[in-house]
């Protein structure tokens, strides 16, 4: 008979050790499930992340914890608790703290994948350096996204002519 509900047949047999005291439990499947839920709570990589969340400059830590994502209202404190972010804008909002973390996890803080979403939009806004824009343009061409490529080409031209102008001034 089950030790917890006392109703159903015990089919699961558990040995618990608490403070050096060994207790044997004989449980029915349902009670074992409830009990099991307590025991096998998933502990994954992201749960360990919380321990690294302080990687940002220590002195700024307290301020960091109060940072709130303007888009979704998630705080860095929340991230420290759950190891997950609130929305894609959180990356920008918490970047001071997230970049060192990304570096620790991946050994890199810079994406170099060969893919961009076919509806890019964001990458144009984000791409700031000439090199980034050029990579973006090449990718857009590869993906036959010519409209996007044209936008990027214009931006590249704009930056290049500005650079040229400053050089000539010197």
């Amino acid at each position: 008979m089950c030790d917890i509900c006392g109703k159903k047949d015990a089919t699961v047999h558990l040995t618990e050790i608490i403070n050096d005291k060994v207790t044997k439990l004989h449980l029915c499947e349902d009670c074992a499930k409830d009990k099991g839920a307590e025991m096998e709570e998933h502990f994954g990589l992201s749960d360990l992340l919380a321990g690294f969340a302080d990687l940002g400059v220590a002195a700024e830590q307290e301020i960091g914890e109060k940072i709130k994502c303007p888009s979704c209202g998630f705080t860095y404190q929340d991230f420290k608790k759950v190891g997950r972010l609130g929305c894609s804008e959180c990356y920008e909002a918490f970047k001071k703290h997230l970049v060192p973390l990304l570096k620790r996890i991946h050994g890199s803080e810079r994406h170099i994948g060969n893919k961009v979403p076919l509806t890019i939009g964001k990458s144009v806004k984000d791409a700031t350096t000439l090199q980034e824009l050029k990579i973006g343009m090449e990718k857009a061409i590869q993906l036959e996204n010519f409209e996007e490529a044209a936008k990027l080409r214009d931006k590249i031209k704009e930056i290049e002519s500005k650079e040229k102008a400053t050089k000539e001034e010197k």
């Binding site: 997950r84 990304l102 991946h106 060969n114 509806t119 964001k122």
Partner: protein, 348 residues
Amino acid sequence: MTLEDFLKQDSEWLKGTGPSANIVMSSRTRLARNIEKLSFSNWADKKQLERVNSIVRDAVRSVSALKNSMFINLKDINEVDRLFLVERHLMSPEHAKDVEYKALVVDPKEMISIMVNEEDHLRIQVMQSGLSLKDCWATINELDNELSKKMSFAYSAKWGYLTACPTNTGTGLRASVMVHMPALVFTNQISKVLEAVAKLGLNVRGLYGEGTEATGNIFQISNQVSLGMSEEDIIDNIERITNQLISREEATRKTILTKNRAELVDRVSRAYGTLKNAHIITSNETVTLLSAIRLGVDLGLVKNLDRRMINELFILTQPAHLQKLENRELNPNERDIKRADLIRGKIK
């Protein structure tokens, strides 16, 4: 197409075909994607979760690779059915919990699946038999391109695809292989080999059980890093290391076959005998014995069974599968009996 149809068929990844299928049971690629301007699933409100669900449902209809796929709202099916999908590796155990807004897309061959509103809005997965990561990548890449025409994925030039957990940021790609390495375990080389794999930046875990104590000698190897490496390099890296593991396992199998032949034949034959005759058997014992038989088939010691059927038994003998086959709930004792019945019906 219903879930019952799945019960009657072998998933694509179970076929036991493809390169090095004697050692590599299956290959899998997974992409984490999120839709711009909507909070990640764990932080999103009801409305946003519903929105994600409907955006994906609409998109799936017009993607040709998903033409005949099922879109299953997980709240519409019962717990056994959800566990059934987990056991078939079509979704994660996490996806079977708190199912209100979660959904699963599965194609009829069970090669492609998409988890909707798991940790990320979309977790796209492609799985195939044998060492076929490059094929999996080609398929998932194409599918991802198609989907990205239907919705705007959160992406930044600096950090790539933005995911709920920073461990997936960048490519959002997790590639993995499931390898059966009984000979390396048998000769106590496995911990050294796995240590080396981990040093090369890959994740290793037992498919059943933990670490080097993996029941059934099946290990899952996947990339740890998703940022700062291109998709192709990630795939290539795992494929190269897997090829090393294959040759090591193969060489060891040959050695055992000559040097420890009696012990090997004894182990395989005992496994055969038990599976053929048992009337009560736990899932742990089943997995251990199936591993031995699988090795026996690979080495030609067992002639009347094939790899595909052994692969199938790994899946069919799990709790939800047994309950689906029997069409009723079974307690663990009943399952042990039903499991033995099923195995005796197949292994003769």
